[in-house]
């Protein structure tokens, strides 16, 4: 959940003409790449992942190189060792996973070990898995942001709030994460082309369109799914919280998500409330602060925190990005009734362009149904708690 602009910015914006323009002639001065460790271990069933990459040395490309064939394992204070293996080097290079049955235990202390093929060794600080409190009665409220015009999808939405009871122990840190599953019926959309069932991609005939691109007179073809399928959306905005001012109190009305008003059907939302470590909180809060205080009059210095809880054993000056994140999870599933309290507002329903492709005549070998491929963003497995 992204916070709004800081107050000062809005204040001044309201008073004087400040403006934000893209900088078209930006030239990167220096290029560097660093080992990035993105690892998470929770008390949920695995597989848990450790992703090792080299950051991109260019700000204009997402070229992030995986670190292949490393030895990755986890140890805990009870003497247990869990190996993480690069199980799928072709589709998920640099992603190391634990066994599916492995799960962390609240109160145990974990250390992550990494050895790369060039002999470099890395180790994390010991991190103890904190507990996560239960989510008490999530609530939601319809909300209209009048600064957006009618028809803008950002205008109306449902703010989702949680309540929780903080324990009497000071120094507890929370994070929220959400996942939404949207049932879909169209599994492929090919603008100006057709679906190649052998390669499982859209193909567009080359050369006939503008600049050798797709021809513009060919309609967009949509292909139905061959079974149940869901698109997955999840929160990418950092939403962390510390009990600094609420120790032992009930924390109420903490906004954790905003569901879009893009239809009137009930909206499925999986909420995760995580108990995170102080280092994970500090790190993520630092990033969130910097994002929030960028492009304002009161920016905080733009800086990157290296070696949050990872260090190199072979080169003490090596800078490492990312974090070894150890947390416990409490989940809750809610359905948002999108007919409730909406007043005069109408949903902004995304329009599907083009036509549905169907075989004519409807006999094999002609295919018109596209499979629902499993990925981070799509699944055919019925989500937990799904009500038809």
């Amino acid at each position: 959940m992204k916070k709004q602009f800081p107050i000062y910015f809005v204040l001044i914006l309201g008073l004087i003409a400040s403006c934000i323009t893209p900088l078209t002639d930006f030239q990167q001065l220096d290029s560097k790449s660093f080992l990035t460790v993105e690892s998470s271990l929770s008390d949920q069933l695995g597989p848990h992942t450790v992703q090792l990459t080299f950051s991109s040395a260019s700000v204009k490309s997402n070229f992030i190189q995986p670190v292949r064939k490393a030895t990755v394992y986890l140890t805990d204070d009870k003497g247990i060792r869990e190996n993480f293996l690069e199980t799928n080097p072709t589709t998920a290079a640099g992603v190391y996973t634990s066994s599916p049955n492995f799960r962390g235990k609240v109160g145990n202390t974990y250390v992550l070990h990494i050895e790369t093929t060039d002999g470099k060794k890395y180790v994390s600080n010991p991190e103890t898995m904190p507990d996560a409190p239960e989510i008490q009665t999530p609530t939601y409220q319809f909300d209209v942001k009048t600064n957006y015009s009618v028809g803008d999808p950002r205008r109306a939405g449902f703010n989702v709030f949680v309540n929780l009871q903080d324990s009497p122990k000071l120094g507890e840190y929370y994070q929220w994460y959400w996942k939404h599953y949207e049932p879909i019926y169209i599994c492929a959309t090919c603008p100006g082309g057709t679906y190649n069932f052998a390669k499982n991609i859209c193909e567009t005939p080359k050369g006939s369109g503008v600049g050798g691109g797709a021809p513009t007179d060919v309609p967009t073809l949509n292909y139905l799914c061959d079974g149940s399928c869901w698109d997955i959306q999840f929160g990418v905005e950092i939403n962390v919280f510390a009990d600094t001012y609420y120790n032992g109190q009930k924390i109420t009305g903490k906004q954790i998500a905003r569901a879009p008003f893009d239809g009137r059907s009930p909206y499925y939302l999986q909420i995760e409330q995580r108990g995170i470590t102080q280092s994970a909180y500090d790190y993520q809060q630092g990033i969130a602060n910097q994002l929030q205080n960028s492009g304002t009059f009161f920016d905080v210095p733009a800086e990157t925190r290296f070696n949050t809880n990872m260090k190199s054993l072979t080169n003490s000056t090596e800078k490492i990005l990312g974090i070894f994140n150890v947390f416990a999870v409490k989940k809750k599933i809610i359905y948002i009734d999108r007919e409730k309290g909406i007043g005069q507002e109408n949903p902004v329903v995304p329009q599907i362009t083009g036509e549905i492709f169907s075989c004519n005549p409807p006999f094999p070998p002609c295919k018109d149904r596209v499979p629902c491929f499993e990925s981070k963003l799509r699944t055919k497995i019925k989500p937990e708690g799904w009500v038809n």
Binding site: Y8, L15, I64, F297, F298, A302
Partner: protein, 804 residues
């Protein structure tokens, strides 16, 4: 025979003019009316020979003869007459010729007219005659002539037109003097300190300009009577109320209204001055703001009161009070981390009071005793029902100072005294006595005492050489009650385990620092009109403003030096050359300086400063250096006046702690946010008549630094920039032209009520000046954005009045 070409050409010109006028005389004297008169010097009454009278802007005209007399024959009708003479201010008028017309004109000697520029002539005198170096006396009249943003006469902005004074950018919360941070300036209004010099988060200065008599900015060469900050002193003096006459003046502008009155209560003995300013911006939000800003409130006020009492010739007593306040209310936004709130209100301001007693023991010995009490309070609160918050912090200042000014002989002028300063800081209290889910917090108060003794002597060694030498000794005590946290040694404070605490009773010394601060300036006159000067001073600073933002928030916390936060110490040297030309109408100056500051404060990456009981764990200390050269050309008087300056300056810092976490930018020197090497400032004032004046100001600055990323990384499906060094790139250069047109007394009649209109255009050519550059993730990596401010011309109209 030698012929002087100048006198030759003048003679030819005179002959020509004579021929023309004679021709006109012969041809037209019978039918045309005669315009004639005598041109004299306004001060001496002496006739002016050779003054040129031009008619209807034509180049040809007549000139005055040896007795200052001129005549011309003109057709009936309206005519514009301009009379000019070298060294005198031109005179223009419009007359309607119906018959013979007599017009005697008095011209003002430029060297005797009042200065029109912000840097007062007093300053020029000082530049040439005294050893003071890096000291600028500013005239409030000059400041009022500068084009003001939204019509608000603004001291902080005006100062930025001077060489060596800059800021992070528009809307910054203070000034940077010769590479110093905002909190390294000591700002005094009648000896009471100002902790936050701006209203509306940096848009306007706090000072009610009508109440101000004069300002002195010490960019270096600080006399020993001032101390406690390392970069500069801005000494603002409030006007003394007139003991004879009632006066009322004020103004109506788009942002605020002003009113000032001087009332004599007992003639020649007791008078009071009250000046106030009140903003009224709420309607802007209510009527013009988008729906989400309609509940926004933003108001500020200033009130200055001075009571002046002179019981006899040898004594004077004055009471000064200066109050400022800002109030804001903003919907659904909040700046206190980890608190859930819907609406936030901000309230902050100064309550400053001072008592002065001045006493002449003899014409040679003068004593000044001053007592000051000053507080700056801030409050941030959210009236949300269950998550109610009320966050307060404050800084209090008390000062007792006695100074004696003694001139034993012609060649010595001494100034010495003692000063006691007490600071009381409440770094943060949350929800004291309030029922809320948000827990109460009360951070330990901090208090300190600074005891100082100081002496200066200005010694005229010879006609050419003068030296001003002084010494200040300060002893600083951080006083209990206080509890110091003890950390395991050899580790950075941010990660070191706490091994215990040490508690100090009330009044007990927690930590003490101190030392001598030598101050020296010397002047060597290279001629009657030029001098060469050298200066050195050391300054110590025991309080600092903690803020990790580009410019500090008004609610930022102050911190007293303690065991972990060492006091800042700066050593400053400068060299200057000054020369006046043409009876001080023109002045050229060149100054260079170098300053080194120890123990400047910086912050850990992602530092948590608000309500942090162990703030020392978030701070880093290092070294700062600043150097530069300032060149300035000033034309002080005449129809055209103004200045042009060029400054080259750098301001760098180094934070190089033992571990990687205690380094910034890998421990290398990096530019500060206000490091802008090239600066050009121009100010031009044109005053053709008493009723009109036009002003232009132009500013050019190298773009300020920002941190440019070396690449990007992905975490939890989001892309973030990777920054490795601080402030390694620069935003686009800044430049801006402002214009103002003032019409004084439009009725042109002499009357008690005198009005004037000022029309201002700020950023005349609508330059989209950047304030910062930042990065946001996008499908193809990161995208750079520029935040611009005042990207369009701002037009405003202000009405000012005087009632005498």
């Amino acid at each position: 025979m030698l012929i002087n070409p100048n006198s030759m050409s003048k003679k030819i010109f005179l002959l020509l003019v004579f021929c023309i006028t004679t021709f006109f005389t012969f041809a037209q004297n019978i039918t045309l009316p005669k315009l004639s008169g005598i041109v004299t010097d306004a001060n001496t009454g002496q006739p002016l020979v050779g003054a040129a009278i031009s008619l209807d802007f034509k180049k040809s005209g007549v000139i005055t003869n040896a007795s200052g007399y001129y005549e011309a024959f003109l057709p009936v009708g309206e005519i514009i007459i301009k009379v000019s003479n070298v060294g005198y201010k031109p005179f223009r008028t419009k007359v309607v010729i119906r018959g013979d017309y007599k017009l005697d004109i008095q011209l003002e000697d430029v060297s005797k007219t009042l200065e029109e520029v912000i840097v007062s002539s007093e300053a020029t005198k000082k530049n040439i005659q005294t050893p003071s170096l890096g000291v600028t006396s500013l005239s409030i009249k000059g400041i009022k002539k500068l084009p003001a943003m939204m019509g608000e006469v603004d001291i902080i902005r005006s100062l930025q037109t001077l060489p060596g004074v800059s800021s992070v950018g528009e809307g910054s919360n203070g000034i940077n003097v010769r590479g110093g941070a905002i909190d390294q300036n000591l700002i005094f209004v009648d000896e009471t300190p100002i902790f936050n010099p701006t209203h509306l988060f940096g848009l306007f200065s706090v000072f009610a300009s009508d109440a101000i008599r004069e300002l002195e900015l010490y960019k270096g060469g600080v006399p020993s009577r001032f101390g406690g900050r390392t970069a500069s002193i801005l000494d603002i003096k409030m006007a003394e109320p007139n003991l004879e006459k009632f006066k009322l003046q004020g103004g109506i502008g788009p942002v605020s209204n002003r009113l000032m009155t001087e009332v004599p209560i007992i003639k020649e003995k007791l008078a009071v001055l009250v000046a106030g300013r009140l903003s009224y911006n709420d309607f802007l939000f209510k009527w013009f703001g988008p729906a989400n800003l309609q509940n926004t409130r933003a108001n500020f006020t200033d009130l200055a009161v001075k009571v002046f009492y002179r019981p006899d010739k040898n004594n004077s007593i004055s009471l000064t009070s200066y109050l400022s306040n800002d109030f804001y209310q903003v919907d659904s936004l909040f700046s206190l981390e980890n608190v859930v709130a819907k609406q936030t209100k901000f309230d902050y301001g100064h309550q400053n009071f001072a008592v002065h007693w001045g006493h002449y023991f003899s014409p040679k010995v003068y004593m000044d005793v001053v007592g000051v009490q000053s507080t700056y309070n801030t409050r941030t609160y959210a009236p949300d029902s269950v998550n109610r918050i009320d966050l307060k912090n404050s800084i209090g200042y008390k000062n007792l100072k006695a100074t004696i000014d003694y001139q034993p002989t012609e060649s010595h002028h001494t100034n010495f005294g003692i000063s006691l300063v007490r600071y009381d800081i409440a770094p943060g209290t949350l929800n004291q006595g309030i029922i809320s889910r948000v827990s109460p917090i009360d951070l330990a108060k901090e208090q300190s005492l600074e005891i100082a003794a100081f002496a200066d002597d200005e010694f005229k060694v010879s006609k050419k050489f003068t030296i001003q030498y002084g010494l200040r000794f300060v002893q600083f005590y951080n006083l209990g009650p206080f509890t110091t946290t003890k950390y395991q040694e050899g580790l950075p404070l941010s990660t070191a385990p706490v091994i215990g605490t040490e508690t100090f009773e009330s009044g007990k010394v927690v930590k003490s620092y101190g030392g001598f601060e030598p101050r020296i300036t010397m002047k060597f006159s290279t001629s009657e009109t030029s001098t060469l000067k050298f200066g050195y001073n050391r300054m110590q600073q025991f309080v600092q403003l903690l803020s990790n933002n580009t410019t500090p928030l008004p609610t930022s916390r102050w911190k007293i030096s303690d065991e972990y936060v060492k006091p800042q110490v700066s050593d400053f040297v400068s060299l200057g050359f000054f020369k006046t030309l043409k009876e001080s109408i023109w002045e050229v100056s060149a100054e260079t300086y170098y300053r080194k500051t120890q123990n400047i404060v910086e912050y850990l990456s992602g530092a948590k400063l608000q309500l942090n009981p162990t703030i020392e764990t978030q701070l880093l200390q290092g070294e700062g250096k600043a150097y530069g050269m300032e060149l300035m050309l000033t034309k002080r008087r005449g129809e055209f006046s103004g200045w042009l300056s060029y400054t080259y300056s750098r301001a760098l810092q180094q934070i190089n702690g033992a571990t990687a976490a205690e380094k910034i930018s890998n421990g290398d020197w990096f530019p500060t946010n206000y490091d802008k090497p090239h600066n050009v400032n121009m100010m031009l004032n044109i005053q053709p008549t008493k009723h009109h004046s036009f002003s232009f100001t132009f500013a050019y600055q190298t773009g300020r630094p920002y941190s440019s990323p070396v690449g990007l990384f992905r975490l939890a499906d989001k892309t973030y920039p990777v920054y490795e060094s601080r402030n390694n790139d620069r935003i686009r250069d800044y430049h801006r032209l402002d214009f103002s047109w003032t019409i004084n007394n439009p009725s042109m009649k002499a009357q008690r009520w005198e009005g004037s209109w000022t029309f201002t255009v700020y950023n005349l050519y609508g330059r989209k000046n950047p304030y910062s550059v930042y990065f946001k993730s996008d499908k193809a990596g990161l995208k750079a954005y520029e935040l611009g401010v005042f990207a369009a011309p701002f037009v405003s109209l202000t009405y000012n009045f005087k009632f005498l």
